[in-house]
Amino acid sequence: MLGILSSLLTAGGWFPVGQAGGVSQTPEALFQQIFTVFVVLGSLVGIVVIGYMLYNAYKYRAGTGRGAEADDSKKVTRPEPGQIPTGSGGGKKLFLSFGISAVIVLSLIVWTYSALLFVETTPEQQESDLTVEVVGEQFAWQFHYPNGETSVNEMVVPEGAMVELEVSTADVFHNFNIPKFRTGADAMPGHTLETWFVADERGNFTAECREICGAGHSGMNAQVRVVSQEEFEEWYGGSASGSNGGAGNGTASNASGANADLRTAATIGGVGA
């Protein structure tokens, strides 16, 4: 149902989301787009409003500005000690400004709501290429793969894959985030929370913990290696070496079973540029 809503909202084309069925935008690109708009708009509003205020403060200064000649007789009633306070009118201008700011703020939120729906509903609507269970513990990250492999503090994913993360914790509250791909989720006791990203760039990236979890919170980082499809299949189908504490060794039969969970490079499509 939310998927339908999402589609409706994207119909105008103006909204920064893709059509249901294909991942037209990565969360990373989405975030970048929205963030940029907010920064530009926010800076603009900030500069205009603060500038306007400082301008008026200067203009009406009592020393040598307009404030000096401002008469205390007709146009402006000045407060005197012992008066019961009254407003000084000006409601109309106030409402105009208020109305404009309300329109700006509300539009921004409605616009970003469709992006939220996209982020939330895509994993339901689209099968991911790879699902990794991420388990936070004091003070490391475990990664559990569909074939039963486990690695600690290192997650390997193939380039171009849409990866779904199921994040949970073995002990206290953590938060798992990969800044490069703009993806993250709380590791909350009692819950398994989902998020996803598209590994559209090869390289080594950092994942970090964003919720204070004890003495080792600072530096509770893991490495995210995005490798070529072939390299990944080798790593995954093989012994998943390069990690410590991996449970079990990959065998030939595992390899074929594992490959069934993955789409081949050819079928991973629709990834937006």
Binding site: G67, R78, F98, V105, R210
Partner: protein
């Protein structure tokens, strides 16, 4: 006028004793301000440690544990022990004057609030020396906050920190009751609620929020303390513990940030008006917007939880409410800005600070909208974007408050500050502030509470660290300026600010003890006048010549002749004048009670579970005996006092005997007790004695002759205070019951029965319901007896109440004994506090209720003792019985819900 004997005598300002015993709101205000600045320095030093640590990625001077303590302490100290108390220092001083009152409604309670605040902060500070302190961040998330995950070395210190916070909440609750009662009952005639100066209005809304929000925090802290000291399993519960904490904490936490900010908003409005020489634009809308925000603040809390396991529909709702709350703020900022137009603006030091504050708040506010876009929040969560945002808004608020300090400094001290130093202060502050916090937006991807950041961020973090030191230096200038000016500043006139219009600018700088040398302030004629006693009485009774009091609004809020008669005992005007002179201004008990609380909580920080109960039991016996001793001293010896001493003594022996049985001999009991047990017991005894003495102390609180009191005009001062207190107690119990319901939903509502032994049946609950209902009935009949001056009946019915209450406790005791010691297949070790989440919720919730019953019964004994010697007779004097009745019936009502929820369904 008010310096005389009988406990009300106030020594001069230069003496230490003055500051220990004063109850005057201006003195208390100064105490708050100075103490808050001390905690600012304490929290600031921790901040400098943090920034020093972050000079290079990977840290420099602190270990992981040390760093976590620094960030936790910095947050807690700044949010709780600096910023709001600082605002309330200003509020204490200014608000009574602005509304035309001579003091707050309950001056001793006001002093008590202050001392509890000071000692709570000292207790927090002590936590660093009890091993290690709390390391969870100021948000104290579960399950990092329970013993399983608290490092052993930090076990005692963490509990001390939590209990310090708990004591602070008690201080805040007392303060809210005080301010609310004051602002509703002691305004000058003609000053309707909407006419209040904007600072007072902002404080009014702040204390309403405080009343409701802090009670939720109190319940969270009680449960957390129980999890840590008694071993209950709320927050460690796998299914719902972490989520429960986030709900409870943020339901408090969001209103808290407005509680912090609103006084600043009020100060911005006042200074913008005064220094532009214009009334605020759209005042009506400004006030409405403030009130709206205060209400809305309670329906946005889940925006701190967007990444937790809450469902998408509820996220959507809270996204909407969050954006909704930003809109009134927009309106208020515009109102301030438009006020400048056609103004006659003087760039005084207070104005600069407030202008700067508005700039900082606008930056902070805009970045807050970013956080309201949920999809962005997903990435900002737990990063320095959040840190930068809230420092801009919160410290932006503090900026306005420093402006307020400069603004009212001449009034409070009678001296002008040094303007040049003030300008340098502002400049270094503003530059330092932005150097410190703006880079945090640039390197926002740094996770919170982390010093291992990305190498590339280093230059920005270094700029921030330098900014921090510059900001710290600006305070050196501030303190020097203010201290120097107190001694050698130019004398300040009554009104150093042209266009200041609220009452404080019409009285001397500094004001005399009772604020208004020229007479009783009244706006009845449409503008401020100072009336003599006789004139005030004429206005009150409506016999004034036309023109004075004629403009009094007919909104049912005036003090009628009957009310005044009730409260000033219907004497001729002359008598009323004398009564006013007898206002008391000093008492030793606030500082003594607070010191006792410090000792008590210090002991509880480290007390062993097996010794937890005994200090309380011993203190109860001591209480009863002390009633007799103090009563004989105060009211003259009577047989009741001998009875109390006897009862107390006997009780003491009984408790000792029980202790001996429990531990296998008194010697073994003493050997097995840690020092914390003795400290707790000492604190309990000190507290008992101080509270009894404070209750018995005669402290005169004259009623204002003339006051605006809508909408509570027919409700007396004490009655209103009690009702306001009960409103916060509703939240406390509501949150406890709500926590139970939540845990039950989280663990599976109907599966809950598997967690409870079959032996837990309805009958004990039903019997207790009967007993409590009967006791409520007894109390109302007792009140009738008191009103009709039937002393023996009063004592009889009160004694019945007591007996029924004891019956309740005995029945509960038997029930608990049975459950704790049963041994079945499902529960081989019995079913008690630590067994499972169902037992935790059952015993803690009904235990909290039981504690309320015990307190009620102790008060009943106090009432019986006093009634015996003739107190509470008559329509007016019986008030105390009525106020107690309100409390007792409330306790009964809570049970009416506990009974079905914990026994039947």
């Amino acid at each position: 006028m008010s310096e005389h004997a009988d406990g009300g005598h106030l020594p001069p300002r230069s003496s230490v004793k003055r500051w220990l015993v004063t109850t005057n709101h201006k003195d208390v205000g100064i105490l708050y301000i100075v103490t808050a600045l001390f905690f600012l320095v304490f929290g600031g030093i921790l901040a400098l440690l943090i920034r020093t640590q972050m000079w290079s990625p990977g840290g420099t001077i602190l270990s992981g544990m040390g760093y976590n303590q620094a960030v936790t302490g910095h947050g807690l100290l700044m949010v709780f022990w600096f910023i709001s108390p600082f605002a309330f220092g200003l509020a204490n001083y200014v608000v009574p004057i602005q509304i035309g009152a001579e003091d707050l409604a309950f001056p001793r309670l006001n002093a008590l609030s202050y001392w509890m605040y000071l000692f709570s902060g000292l207790l927090f500070g002590t936590s660093y020396f009890l091993g290690s302190s709390l390391q969870t961040g100021w948000t104290i998330y579960a399950p990092l906050n329970v013993p399983t995950y608290i490092p052993d070395v930090a076990a005692v210190g963490s509990v001390a920190a939590i209990l310090g916070l708990l004591l602070f909440v008690a201080s805040v609750t007392v303060s809210s009751v005080n301010f609310l009662t004051t602002m509703y009952r002691m305004r000058a005639k003609g000053l309707r609620m909407r006419d209040l100066p904007l600072f007072s209005l902002s404080i009014l809304l702040t204390v309403w929020m405080m009343l409701f929000a802090f009670a939720a925090l109190l319940s969270a802290l009680f449960i957390l303390s129980a999890d840590n000291i008694l071993g209950t399993t709320y927050f460690a519960n796998e299914a719902g513990g972490a989520m429960l904490w986030t709900h409870l904490f943020w339901f408090f936490g969001h209103p808290e940030v407005y509680i912090v900010f609103f006084p600043a908003l009020g100060i911005m409005a006042e200074t913008f008006q005064t220094f532009s020489g214009k009334r605020i634009v759209g005042r009506k809308w400004f006030v409405l917007a403030m009130a709206l925000v205060a209400l809305q603040s309670f329906v946005v809390w889940m925006h701190h939880m967007f990444l937790t396991g809450i469902n998408l529909p509820v996220k959507t709702i809270f996204m909407a409410t969050t954006i909704g709350i930003s809109l009134p703020f927009d309106l208020m900022m515009f109102a301030l800005i438009y006020t400048l137009i056609k103004g006659k603006i003087r760039f005084t030091v207070p104005f600069l600070w407030n202008l700067g504050a508005v700039i900082l708040f606008i930056v902070g506010g805009i970045t807050g909208v970013f956080l309201g876009a949920v999809v962005l929040d997903y990435q900002f969560r737990g990063t320095y974007w959040v840190v930068a945002h809230f420092h801009y808004v919160m410290v932006g608020g503090a900026t306005a408050m420093f402006g307020g300090l400069y603004y009212w400094f001449p009034k409070m001290t009678g001296k002008m500050y040094d303007r040049r130093l003030g300008l340098w202060n502002f400049l270094t502050y503003f530059v330092g502030f932005n150097l410190l916090y703006f880079p945090m937006f640039v390197v926002w991807e740094t996770p919170r509470r982390v010093f291992d950041y990305s190498e590339g961020f280093t230059p920005w973090h270094r700029v921030a660290t330098l900014g921090a030191f510059l900001l710290a230096f600006s305070f050196v200038i501030m303190f020097y300026n203010l201290a120097k000016s107190i001694y050698s500043g130019d004398p300040a006139p009554d009104n150093p600010w042209e266009y200041g219009s609220s009452i404080e600018w019409s009285i001397p700088s500094p004001p005399p003890l009772d604020n208004f040398p020229k007479g009783i302030p009244s706006y009845a004629s449409g503008k401020l006048e100072f009336l003599s006693e006789e004139e005030a009485i004429e206005v009150r009774d409506g016999t004034a010549p036309s023109g004075r009091g004629a403009a009094a609004a007919a909104d049912g809020g005036t003090v009628t002749a009957t009310d005044a008669a009730l409260e000033t005992s219907a004497e001729p005007a002359l008598e009323a004048a004398h009564e006013e002179e007898h206002a008391d201004h000093a008492s030793w008990w606030p500082v003594t009670v607070s010191l006792s609380a410090f000792v008590l909580f210090l002991g509880l920080s480290g007390i062993q579970f097996q010794y937890f109960l005994w200090p309380g039991l011993l203190a109860i016996a001591f209480f009863i005996a002390y009633l007799g001793i103090e009563g004989a001293r105060r009211d003259g010896f009577a047989s009741i006092h001998a009875l109390m001493v006897g009862l107390g003594g006997a009780g003491f022996l009984v408790v000792l005997q029980l202790l001996a049985i429990d531990k296998g001999g008194l010697g073994a009991a003493i050997d097995g007790a840690s020092p914390y047990f003795w400290v707790t017991t000492l604190g309990a005894f000190m507290g008992t004695a101080s509270l009894i003495s404070m209750g018995w102390e005669s402290f005169s609180l004259p009623e204002p002759t003339l006051a605006e009191q809508w909408p509570f005009s027919a409700v007396g001062r004490w009655k209103l205070g009690m009702w306001v207190f009960l409103a916060s107690d509703v939240i406390l119990f509501g949150a406890f019951i709500g926590s139970y319901l939540f845990m039950r939903v989280a663990n599976g509502w109907t599966d809950w029965h598997h967690l409870i032994p079959a032996e837990h049946v309805v009958m004990p609950g039903l019997i207790n319901t009967y007993l409590l209902l009967a006791s409520s009935f007894a109390v109302v009949v007792a009140l009738e007896a008191a009103k009709h001056e039937k002393r023996k009946q009063l004592i009889g019915w009160l004694s019945l109440t007591f007996a029924l209450g004891i019956g309740f406790l005995i029945n509960k005791g038997i029930e608990w004994e049975h459950l704790a010691h049963l041994s079945t297949e499902a529960f081989p070790e019995g079913w008690f506090l630590t067994t499972n989440v169902a037992s935790s919720t059952f015993f803690l919730t009904t235990g909290l209720h039981g504690a309320h019953v015990i307190i009620g019964l102790l008060i009943t004994l106090f009432l019986i003792t006093r009634a015996w010697t003739g107190a509470y007779m008559g329509e007016e004097e019986s008030g105390t019985i009525e106020y107690f009745g309100l409390y007792w019936h409330f306790v009964d009502i809570v049970w009416l819900f506990l009974f079905p929820l914990f026994y039947i369904v």
